[in-house]
């Protein structure tokens, strides 16, 4: 297995495949502009991610692709965590593409949806390759803003969810552009390469501000605690396929951002601890609120918040100790989470269309996928938990990590019960075109992390080791026990509003409206001629008067 991957990676045309991976969805998106080509839209969804899949295998850590005909040179390079996340994400996009293509055949107005889908795909692929700040910001914007088109595609009342999503995404963009400006300004020759920026970061005069802004900017993407308000409403409003790619793929853009932009060789204890605290609290907060929800998609959203909290905690721990291993571990964990979460969203799509008979046959597989999030042995989950065990260490963080496994099991079982409740006797069951992507995801979530963990990390085949087996099994059993015992108590939990804290975020808008009204009154006063002419004279006097201040 090793030498095959090695042979492939010295493939001569590595950089060109990177360009192909980006170019394919871009060309297909532009093709949507003409009405004639738009009819093949659904087919594009399937074809586009294939190139990226090939690229992640062929081009991993081969020479960078440099396009320097612009004002700023665009540099694309694929390093190991980037290749892993790219492979996993494009796999998810492929499966979701098949799911979306088949479920969309009947809709006529699919042109815009396909265009937004491909735009988000371009962003999602590019964000893993970008090695310079300008193109990273471009792909990051591409992965977050066109997604708005996916969210509001079907649901009538999706506007408020879309609005919240866009405003938080734009807030993230604002944080990031400030952070990148600080990063680039700290480098001696204002170079835009991320590597130079990160090397100069520890010594930069604005180090804390930069790291803080980076955490805030990428935090909006991975749903770090105060900035998670958009996730529940967005994933519930978006169509299933879109929710799958957003929760599984787009979130990884935040993870790769943190992985790329943190100065791993240099310990930054202050921000590290903050990240750990935020991460861990998100891990448990997500599950706590998730249990009170009714809609399965919202529960999955809260599970994402919780899992991403764990990833953030791993990265935080890595930042405190300054060890690079945390980045690789977090990337692997996020990769597995992407596959599992995407699969679960597809499962929700499939199961909500199933009859009771078909439901009973599919539920065990979905259960397997759900519990893999909690680290079920023989699944990808155990590998993911193993990857983050070393950075978290065995102390408090290790215990919290196993506790979160129990909590996740609790949430997943509650989710399975909710999904099962969806089924009603129905004559038509979803066709194979919908079910195969789900099964592909289940298979991938098992095989891919294992293959990666052993092929690249070249550890010995240990999954059959008894201690590890037991170590990952008991949290799930305990979780199952609690779920069974507290079943009735869980049912009666009050249903919190969807965005929990988000619902109260609407209050400042009132303030904003009042500010707007005041601006209106000010404008009416300013519009009167004497006031405007007076303002003109005041400006003239102010500027000429400046001479008096310093002769």
């Amino acid at each position: 297995m090793n030498d095959a991957a090695l042979a492939l990676s010295t493939f001569a045309y590595g950089p060109q495949t990177l360009a192909a991976a980006l170019g394919a969805p871009l060309v297909l998106m532009l093709a949507c502009a003409s009405a004639r080509l738009r009819r093949f839209g659904p087919a594009y969804l399937v074809v586009a991610p294939l190139f990226a899949l090939a690229a992640c295998v062929l081009a991993s850590d081969s020479g960078p692709l440099v396009l320097d005909q612009m004002i700023y040179p665009i540099v694309l390079v694929l390093d190991p965590p980037g290749a892993l996340l790219l492979g996993v994400t494009s796999l998810l996009w492929l499966a979701a593409g098949i799911f979306a293509a088949s479920s969309m055949r009947d809709e006529t107005e699919s042109g815009a949806f396909v265009a937004f889908w491909l735009a988000t795909l371009v962003g999602n692929i590019g964000v893993f390759m970008a090695a310079d700040v300008a193109s990273f910001y471009l792909f990051f914007a591409l992965v977050s803003l066109p997604a708005y088109g996916l969210i509001v595609a079907q649901a009538r009342m999706a506007d408020s969810a879309g609005g919240l999503y866009v405003s938080v995404a734009l807030l993230g963009e604002a944080f990031l552009i400030l952070a990148f400006a600080l990063l680039a300004s700290a480098t001696p020759d204002h170079s835009l390469l991320i590597s130079d920026g990160v090397d100069a970061l520890p010594a930069s005069p604005w180090r804390d501000a930069t790291i803080g802004l980076l955490i805030a900017g990428f935090g909006t993407k991975i749903g770090l605690l105060p900035l998670h308000v958009w996730m529940p409403s967005t994933y519930r409003a978006a169509p299933v396929a879109a929710a799958a790619v957003l929760s599984g793929g787009a979130v990884n853009a935040g993870v790769i951002g943190l992985v790329r932009f943190f100065p791993w060789g240099h310990a930054v204890p202050v921000w590290g601890e903050a990240l750990v605290v935020l991460g861990m609290s998100a891990a448990f907060y997500g599950v706590a609120i998730g249990l009170t929800q009714r809609n399965p998609k919202t529960m999955l959203a809260y599970s994402s918040i919780s899992q991403m909290g764990l990833v953030a905690a791993t990265l935080g721990a890595g930042l405190v100790a300054g060890n690079k291993g945390a980045a690789a571990g977090a990337a692997l964990y996020a990769a597995h989470h992407g596959l599992a979460k995407g699969g679960l969203f597809l499962a929700v799509g499939v199961l909500s269309g199933c009859g009771t008979l078909r439901m009973r046959r599919l539920t065990p597989f979905v259960g397997l996928l759900a519990l893999s999030l909690a680290g079920l042995p023989f699944s990808g989950g155990v590998i993911a938990k193993l990857a983050i065990k070393q950075p978290l260490g065995d102390g408090l963080l290790g215990a919290l990590s196993t506790l979160s496994a129990i909590a996740t099991t609790l949430l997943m079982l509650h989710f399975l019960r909710r999904v099962a409740a969806l089924a009603e006797p129905r004559v038509s069951n979803p066709g194979w075109a919908l079910i195969t992507p789900m099964f592909a995801m289940i298979a991938a979530s098992i095989m891919a992390p294992t293959a990666y963990y052993f092929a690249i990390e070249n550890h010995r085949l240990v999954s059959l080791d008894a201690a590890l087996f037991w170590e990952s099994l008991w949290p799930i059993l305990v979780g199952a026990l609690i779920a069974a015992a507290a079943r009735r108590w869980l049912e009666r939990l009050p249903a919190l509003p969807e965005g929990d804290v988000g619902a109260f975020a609407a209050r400042p808008f009132g303030l904003f409206a009042r500010g707007g009204a005041a601006a209106d009154r000010g404008e009416i006063i300013l519009r009167r001629w004497p006031v405007a002419a007076g303002a003109l004279m005041v400006v003239a006097i102010m500027i000429s008067g400046m001479g008096v201040l310093k002769p």
Binding site: P530, A533, G534, M537, V538, A540, I541, S544
Partner: protein, 314 residues
Amino acid sequence: MTLSFGFDLSLAVLTLAVAGYAIGARESFASVVAFISYGVLLALVWVRLSAVDVALTEAAIGSGVTGALLIGAAAKVGEGAVDAPRSVRGAGRLLTALFCIATTLGIATAFLSLPEKAPTLAPLAAEHLPSTGLGNPVTAVLLSYRAIDTLLESVVLVFAVVGVWTFASDRDWGGRPESPGKDRPEQPLTFLGQILPPLGILVGVHLVWTGATEPGGAFQGGTVLAAAWILVMAAGLRKPPSIEGAWLRFALIGGPALFLGVGVAGFALAKAFLAYPEGHSKAFILVIEAALTFSIAIALGLLALGAPGRKGHP
């Protein structure tokens, strides 16, 4: 010395008083009339500042044609509704007064703080005067040293005419501007309309011709010709021209177009845009001034007449 300063002081005080009345008068018609007399007084002040060219321009354009325009507007627009807010009252007025006084004091201090030995371009202008072949330095500056400003200024007049015409309503397009006079002008007006214009044309041409050596020039001459033309139309002897007339359009742009043509020819003839060939500059300048005068007269006349009125005005 004190006598001439005394005259200047009284002239200045009188001018400021009339200007104050023009600003502060109750009715707008009185304000316009005061403005016209202010313009004439200002022409006197310009003569005292030994700027006769400017005095001519101020009297002709500043108070003459502008005055005619404003009186026509004041007659048509009137005072407006009695109860309407005439001007800012109370605190606003006081505050504005304060700002204006501050502005005046600022400008006065700036003026008084100017260097004793005033920096001037007069020696340079005088030194190059012979090469332009002109006697009057102001005309030399207008048509040779800073020829681009004069060219653009005559083009600005054409812009203004186009702008005024676009304010007409669509159905009036192609018609004639309203005649400044009444339909059946009184007998003495027609008498004046027959006597004065020939004299006006004579004076106008003379002004342009002497402009090369004595104070005068295209703009002043053009204004006198325009005044003569307006008087003829007011006296009902001629109808205002239809704005679609090809001749009118050609006359309007003739002056600036010729000026531009000579300027571009300057590339070949005199190695620079708007330069005149050695030795012939006076001839070229006079040709340009003649064409400019005619176009300026047409332009000022059209601006005084305003936007075209009803189509097929009898």
